[in-house]
Amino acid sequence: MAQPQDLLYSKEHEWVKLDGDVATVGITDYAQDSLGDIVYVELPKVGAAIRQFGTIGVVESVKAVSDLFTPISGSVIEINAGLEADPALVNREPFAGGWLFKVKASDTSETAKLLNADAYAELTAG
């Protein structure tokens, strides 16, 4: 399964891409494949303060409703407005157009608690 090398991953199957102190967050290809067709994504509000590994939203698929966690702390600065009309973007392009939200990270050193692509691949190999 596709695992971009330049991203960091959480055990809860989110990915994060850091650009300065702005982090873009999404769910992994493994996560979207396990969930099946996604029908609704509930995201935090812009301006919300979120804490690393806290529950910040919900992903609903035809199979189940699952909690969404944030891999990094900070303040939400943008959400992917395209998901409202087309939540299937998360299935089609989990690492690109299906990103979920952007955070102004409060402490970029938190990334030390995340996994690199190889470690995440190992986690989901079973």
Partner: protein, 501 residues
């Protein structure tokens, strides 16, 4: 015509009517005027205009195109879709029960009250609880009742700081939902490698804030929680209460009792365990049971029996006891619903208990367990059975390996089973098993039926390896083919709108 009509040949009743077609057997206009103020009468409701024959044909056609336990095998895990003996319906239809008004005074309702009393006593004895209330309408409703009881109990003891409810990750989704609805915070506990609730994980989260630990036994993997005594002891030592989710009670009737395992609260789904028709979601019946220290908190009313002055212990209960509905219970959480709940279900459940007797119910559970294990050992070489040991009344299989190999998922196997004349098993639950199929055959199926089902499951897996597309395209033999579940979830179209196609 609606889209449904073109897909399936089933028109909506609104689309079948023609203005002015309805047979006017009753002149409703004049009689309604006499009963209702003019301001309450409406003529803007777009009611369908159908002849009696249209209506009869419409609903007869629908009844022929549905699927239920009366038509075929229905292995829907944790739902206990067993045959509903017709004698139960005959009893519920006795005029003395059927035509009884809910406001009839106790002295004119003795037979009905006796039914409720004897069902309550039977359930208490079968499951080892001090008392039951028949008031809640279904399982989740009874869970809520039980948690309200726990909340009131802790309040009376001055322990309002107990606000945590412990729920295993194999639990039915209603457990955390009921706890949250009751204002508790939910702590989810991971299962161990054997698919059991981990005693160590529970001990880690126990403390002065523990209110209730909710358990299903056997759990939703179909496995008996063999450390249950250790868990109930630990929770009690921390001052918490143990709750037994009775969804899987069909596995242990007469063989093991939640009361003996140390549970303080429990519910039953009599519509599952005691054979009441419940396809399509209702109506249910969810007695809630308690240990002695919680009796005062049960929902009202409770049926109580008083010895008659001329009573003699050698005569039948109806000859020596007088039954009354007791509403005067100051500590009660109050009624969970109006009147006597779904009373006809109490009649059905009691009829089932009396038809089987204590030994018969024990055999029911033994056969339910035997049937589940028979299917399990006959499919485990074609599907993964992640917890491969003797199960109780149900077991889980995983299509994860098949999906990797062929692209055929649990969902597709389920659709292919519909094509072969079976209801699909429960899918994608419990959540800890990927591509999960949860199969519960119940005791009412013959070996021949189980053999045909096993052969179908094996054939579907074999076909998935040679011609996966044919499984991905299933079902083809059903009235409605593969439905677009994603579109249904994203753009639900739930009701008819006048003038809209």
């Amino acid at each position: 015509m609606s889209p449904l009509a073109s897909d399936s040949g089933v028109a909506l009743i609104f689309d079948e009517g023609q203005e002015g077609r309805a047979n006017r057997y009753v002149d409703a206009g004049a009689s309604l005027d006499a009963f209702l103020p003019k301001a309450l009468l409406r003529d803007d409701l777009p009611l369908p205009d159908n002849s009696e024959l249209d209506v009869v044909r419409h609903f007869t056609r629908l009844s022929q195109r549905t699927f239920g336990i009366d038509l075929g095998f229905y292995p829907l895990g944790s739902c206990t879709m067993k045959y509903n003996p017709r004698i139960n319906d005959a009893m519920a239809n006795l005029p003395g029960f059927r035509d009884l008004h809910p406001y009839a005074p106790d002295e004119l309702s003795q037979g009905a009250l006796q039914v409720m009393y004897e069902l309550e006593r039977s359930l208490a004895s079968l499951f080892g609880m001090a008392a039951f209330s028949l008031n809640p309408s279904a399982g989740a409703h009874a869970e809520l009742a039980a948690l309200l009881i726990a909340k009131k109990y802790f309040k009376d003891r001055g322990e309002t700081h107990r606000d945590k409810v412990i729920v295993p990750d194999t639990a039915h989704g209603t457990n955390p939902a009921s706890a949250a609805m009751c204002g508790f915070k939910v702590i989810s506990i991971p299962s161990d490698a054997r698919g059991r609730v981990s005693v160590d994980e529970i001990k880690k989260v126990l403390g002065p804030d523990t209110a209730v630990c909710m358990m299903t036994n056997p759990n939703t993997l179909g496995l008996f929680e063999d450390h249950v005594h250790e868990i109930t002891a630990a929770v009690h030592a921390a001052g918490g209460l143990m709750y037994y989710d009775g969804a899987n009670a069909n596995a242990l009737m007469g063989n093991a009792r939640p009361g003996d395992m140390g549970f303080d609260l429990m519910h039953l789904n009599t519509h599952k365990t005691f054979t009441i028709p419940h396809g399509g979601g209702g109506a249910g019946h969810g007695p809630v049971g308690v240990a002695a220290h919680l009796i005062d908190y049960l929902p009202t009313p409770v049926v109580v029996a008083k010895q008659r002055s001329n009573g003699d212990a050698s005569t039948a209960p109806s000859d020596r006891l007088t039954f009354t509905l007791d509403f005067d219970r100051p500590k009660s959480i109050g009624p969970m619903r109006s009147f006597w709940s779904n009373f006809a279900h109490a009649v059905r459940a009691l009829a089932y208990i009396y038809a089987n007797g204590a030994e018969g119910l024990k055999k029911v559970s033994a056969l339910a367990v035997l049937n589940a294990n028979y299917i399990r050992v006959n499919v485990r070489d074609v599907l993964t059975t992640p917890y491969d040991e003797i199960c109780r009344h149900e077991f889980v299989a995983s299509a994860q390996e098949l999906k990797k190999e062929t692209g055929v998922r649990a969902l597709d196997i389920a659709k292919a089973l519909l094509d072969r004349g079976f209801m699909a098993p429960t899918m994608y639950f419990p959540l800890i098993v990927p591509e999960c199929l949860m199969i519960e055959p119940t005791e009412t199926e013959s070996k021949e039926t189980l053999d045909v089902f096993i052969a179908a499951l094996r054939e579907i897996v074999a076909t998935a390896k040679t011609d996966p597309q044919s499984i991905l395209d299933a079902p083809k033999n059903t009235v409605v083919g593969r439905v677009d579940e994603t579109r249904a979830a994203r753009h639900p179209d739930l009701r008819w709108h006048p003038g809209k196609p």
